[in-house]
Symmetry: C2
Subunit: 349 residues, 2 copies
Amino acid sequence: MFQNTKDSKTKLSELGEFGLIDHLTQFFKVKHTSTVKSIGDDAAVLNHDKHSVVTTDLLVEGVHFDLAYMPLKHLGYKAVMVNLSDVYAMNAQAEQITVSIACSNRFTVEALEELYSGITTAAELYNIDVVGGDTTSAIKGLTISITAIGQAKAEDITYRSGAKPNDLLVVSGDLGGAFLGLKVLQRENEVFKVNPNAQPDLEKYTYIVERQLKPEARKDIVELLMALEVKPTSMIDISDGLSSEVMHLCKHSKVGANVFEDKLPLDPMSISTCEEFELDSTTVVLNGGEDYELLFTVDQSDFDKIKANPNLTVIGHMTEQSEGIHLISRMNTKIPIKARGWNGMQEED
Amino acid sequence: MFQNTKDSKTKLSELGEFGLIDHLTQFFKVKHTSTVKSIGDDAAVLNHDKHSVVTTDLLVEGVHFDLAYMPLKHLGYKAVMVNLSDVYAMNAQAEQITVSIACSNRFTVEALEELYSGITTAAELYNIDVVGGDTTSAIKGLTISITAIGQAKAEDITYRSGAKPNDLLVVSGDLGGAFLGLKVLQRENEVFKVNPNAQPDLEKYTYIVERQLKPEARKDIVELLMALEVKPTSMIDISDGLSSEVMHLCKHSKVGANVFEDKLPLDPMSISTCEEFELDSTTVVLNGGEDYELLFTVDQSDFDKIKANPNLTVIGHMTEQSEGIHLISRMNTKIPIKARGWNGMQEED
């Protein structure tokens, strides 16, 4: 899982720019009738009969990922997830992506094939057409830019701005795992640097390591909400950590929020890893990022529809804006929530 | 024109990622009714009633541009043009772009403001909404990723694949200027490195330097063709040089082509600069890139509609595929056309 063991090393220059694009995209098959023209012209042509949703994200080596512990195949998969997650956060279904790659000549054709195999796997599993992109050289490092495009009926689209006081605040899945997986990987990488013969002992951390290396965007939650006939009043995906996302919803919806510490969903492995690293689990949930879960608000009248679902946890409710944004601790004290986010925790500034 | 003389130097970290996006995009105004939701949510929401056209391009410092002679404002403008050009090459009108930037901390807030002022100017002049994007740090250099989105009626869209034998091959504007402008800028930069007090003498090269630094995508040609009631049978934009683009049209349309050397449109300044640099002007037109003119084919019955237009030049015609792709020289000899393109001329391999 952690090493690219392919032996052959074909230099990128042997294929050339055009050869490389053809080579990497030859296996992409068009799945959607809305994809009128895919790769191979000046632009892709799409025919969306509903509203289109468009989002774009850049992933930069050394800032968003470290190839010391992120295999290229996983990176490709994750780069797609990061973008699809933004489409799902609009309550829309993603249908197309474009993929642009800039990389230095330290990458071989085989390395880019690994990267694209992750992209292709993600596209297959999430029913996405890869309709365009660009491949170019760079002086240094690897940069991936993906644009994801989806569609939804106008009346189904959820914005950050629709939450009202007394709406319930709901989160999918569990939180904090991706950040803790990163901590485990970083520790193993330090061990490896000191002793390259050491075998990483990651088996007992499988779930959280996968949360970091192979996150899943919550396409299923969009489908679930549709099936439950619940339209969120607002929605956002959790990329930077719960606190920052709650603040975004509150800011755009002009409301406040109470988040209950004892309701925050953590996997047992996340809890035990927090203990091992001597980290406060609530802090990890609030400030750790990259979980790519969906955070949304629903009207109280929808509570019965969601309350029994194991994928969904009500973690609080919205309030009047003047009441502010607070964590209600297990001790029943109100602690103001401040945005720190994932970058802050990494101390990248 | 060639120096960023702003004195104030605000570090990017003083604004932070979110502050920076807000800061740089605060002046973008929505112009199109098809832009339902612009910057500020997980994704933009668009409502295209026709087919959508989507294209994306990456520009990488040290590969696609050199800040030694490319002012940031011009770079922002050009980055937009490169993408719009691909939309126009589909015979569509561009309406939205997303802009993602990765840059190292050697760039100040003021530098990014310069870059975005070029992007904003381009968006204003070409009637484009900037609907999303991403701003992130990088370990080294500056990378710009733009996705452009347009729309057109299904029946108006032109692909690379529609040319037929005997169709006329037509190009807009004149060719070779952008490459020659680059040669002039590179020469002045070498002089500057030897003698930093030397003042660049660019006045007599204004046209070709502008072709390099401030290219214009041919929105006007798409409008002109619509007004003339001419639908090209195939179309591509000239980013890599005429020879490479002719070959793309021939390959996708399964035809051959004869291009007549004495019909190639060159500006007088391009001709005199070729003489000065002892370059063959035909080679420059065939292999120099970045002119961002449109190359297209029309049925012979449309000849009367386009023949008198000073913006359009018939440079040849398509043939049966078996006849191959040739330049018919002034001496009436047939010379096979091979793709080299702009990168080849730069010897970047």
